[in-house]
């Protein structure tokens, strides 16, 4: 049985349709990333699965539970990292982990978690004295404290410095290796690419593409891009194959077969005795696919 099975999920706030018929299946042990721009419906989707919000329609099964009626037994098996979480500011980091950990039948040791998220120096500091990024790290630790089978992370690394982000990725990779199922949302292409087994791009409440980081949006069978600077004294029409100009002197060729196109181009250039400055060949990046699909040019 899949860990998460959602079909036809819908949710509106008044006139605003936040989630508009979303289907998601996440297998046990899989890391699934929901990638999308601001207001796409990521938080709404995740919070319905967490049991925080009610859906207007669709069928939802998470670990065999309906989140809205799963109650204690359901919540003992999930961990939640909210986009905007907070804890009692007057408690220390260790106190917070011990009080929240105490609610679960299975729990991770507070000091171990503190080390894991890199808050060792702040273990006894009041939460109100932590920096924004440190509070997000505590948030991550609180999501893990019940040793969940399924972890929801809503923008887990927003506000992290680059090394903290790497560290968090390491923690999540470890969890994935332990067989935990993870559903995360993110704005960061590299995060989704690095962590996820599968990615869904959501925009305007709809899933617009889904696949592995390698195949998403037809990346695997997509065309390659060849770019170079238009040599001096050569006009655009002189080129041996169809190309398009991109800003200024840069020329772009979109090719089914990069080998063939390159051969044609370089043979032509050697004949003409011109240099193809700044020559590069690239597959469309996840970012290209993302920007194209979400219309954020």
């Amino acid at each position: 049985m899949a860990a998460i099975e959602v079909t036809g999920l819908r949710k509106s706030y008044g006139d605003v349709v936040a989630v508009d018929g979303v289907d998601i299946t996440v297998e046990t042990g899989e890391v699934f990333a929901l990638l999308g721009p601001n207001g796409a419906g990521k938080t709404t989707t995740v919070e319905i699965l967490e049991g925080h919000r009610s859906a207007d329609g669709g069928s939802i099964g998470v670990l065999g539970f309906d989140p809205s009626t799963g109650g204690r037994a359901y919540r003992e098996r999930i961990g939640i990292v909210l986009q905007e979480g907070a804890v009692e500011r007057e408690l220390s980091v260790r106190e917070a982990l011990s009080i929240y950990g105490g609610m679960y039948p299975r729990r991770l040791d507070a000091d171990h978690l503190i080390d894991l998220v890199g808050l060792t120096e702040k273990a006894d500091a009041r939460i109100k004295t932590l920096s924004g990024g440190q509070q997000r790290r505590l948030e991550l630790a609180l999501g893990l404290v019940g040793d969940p089978d399924l972890l929801f992370l809503d923008e887990p690394t927003t506000g992290f410095d680059p090394s903290a982000r790497r560290q968090a990725w390491g923690i999540l990779e470890n969890l994935a290796d332990l067989g935990k199922t993870i559903l995360l949302t993110t704005h960061y292409m590299d995060e989704a690419q690095h962590l996820a087994d599968r990615i869904a791009i959501i925009d305007g409440g709809k899933i617009v593409a889904e696949g592995t980081p390698e195949t998403l949006g037809g990346r695997a069978d997509g065309k390659s891009m060849i770019r170079f600077a238009l040599p001096e004294g050569v006009s655009f029409e002189d080129l041996p194959i169809t190309a398009s100009t991109v800003d200024g002197d840069m020329v772009e060729v979109s090719a089914e077969s990069a080998t063939r196109a390159l051969h044609e181009l370089t043979t032509w250039a050697i004949d003409k005795d011109v240099e193809l400055e700044q020559l590069q060949v690239a597959r469309p990046s996840l970012e290209d696919v993302y920007l194209e699909l979400t219309d954020e040019h």
């Binding site: 967490e50 049991g51 925080h52 204690r72 037994a73 919540r75 003992e76 999930i78 939640i80 909210l82 905007e84 979480g85 907070a86 804890v87 009692e88 500011r89 007057e90 408690l91 106190e95 009080i99 929240y100 105490g102 609610m103 679960y104 039948p105 299975r106 729990r107 991770l108 040791d109 171990h112 009041r126 109100k128 609180l142 019940g146 040793d147 332990l178």
Partner: protein
């Protein structure tokens, strides 16, 4: 990774732990501790300094004998009504209630821990007030009426805890809550003869005073410390009236309680001392 224990924690242990750590949070919020514990004691010092500690004419008891139980009730109401309302509304603004809902603790166990903590603090504030009265102002405690005093107190603070949760439930956010509690508690305290007995009050004032539960609480509790009275001093009509208010408030609080901050609430991550000071 190491995991501890594999048993589901019992509900009573969850309530107990919540109780303990709500107390901890209370003592670490100096402004709350001041208004609940210290401020009513200051009123006692002030009143006896202003009015002297002679017998009040017509009542046959000293000023302190009259005021101390009333101020003990006032302190207890601050600990339950005011504290619960403000603390819970701020916890909701900050997303703490939402986090709680994402954990396995049964929601009512969390609320029970919060309420138990406020009731405990009410007892503490009351005991401190009565002790100060006895030690510094010769207030008499009467063994015969202690059971009535205790029963009245338990029913009274339960009633005001329910009212506090009701205010938390219907208050739009943590910023508005202190304004609501102060604007309700202070005028009602005046017409309930907490601060001084109003002689020949206008009729409407009397009716209003009789309507709100504070006067019933204060009168029943005060009479249990009146050496001129005889008998066990169980004021059943007042106790029943408090229970009625408590049950109605409790049901309404359950009906209207929200765990999520109202959308557009701007007071995220506000500190309690900031928002309480503004409106005191």
């Amino acid at each position: 990774m190491s995991t501890e224990a594999l048993r589901r924690p019992s509900v009573s242990s969850l309530v107990w732990r919540q109780f303990g750590y709500q107390n901890k949070v209370f003592w670490r919020t100096p402004i709350a501790a001041f208004f609940t514990i210290v401020f009513p004691l200051m009123l006692l010092v002030l009143f006896t300094a202003i009015f002297g500690n002679d017998e009040i004419e017509g009542l046959g008891i000293t000023t302190a004998q009259y005021f101390t139980p009333g101020l003990a009730v006032f302190a207890a109401v601050s600990a339950t009504y005011t504290n619960l309302a403000i603390g819970t509304a701020i916890a909701r603004d900050n997303g703490i209630l939402k986090r709680i809902r994402g954990t396995p603790i049964p929601p009512w166990a969390y609320i029970a821990g919060r309420v138990a903590s406020s009731v405990y603090l009410a007892f503490l504030a009351m005991a401190l007030m009565m002790a100060a009265g006895v030690v510094f102002y010769g207030v008499q405690i009467i063994a015969r009426t202690l059971p009535a005093a205790l029963l009245t107190f338990v029913v009274g603070v339960s009633c005001f805890a329910a009212l506090g949760m009701l205010v938390a439930a219907i208050s739009p956010n943590g910023d508005a809550t202190p304004a609501i509690t102060n604007a309700t508690l202070l005028p009602v305290a005046f017409i309930s003869n907490i601060f001084f007995p109003i002689e020949n009050p206008p009729r409407w004032m009397e009716i209003a005073g009789d309507f709100f539960p504070l006067k019933a609480f204060a009168e029943a509790f005060r009479d249990a410390f009146d050496p001129t009275l005889t008998g066990p001093q169980f004021h059943w009509p007042q106790i029943g009236y408090l229970a009625l208010w408590g049950v109605v408030a409790g049901l309404l609080a359950i009906r209207f309680f929200r765990w999520e901050p109202s959308s557009g609430s701007t007071s995220r991550h506000r500190r309690r001392d900031e928002s309480q000071l503004e409106s005191v």
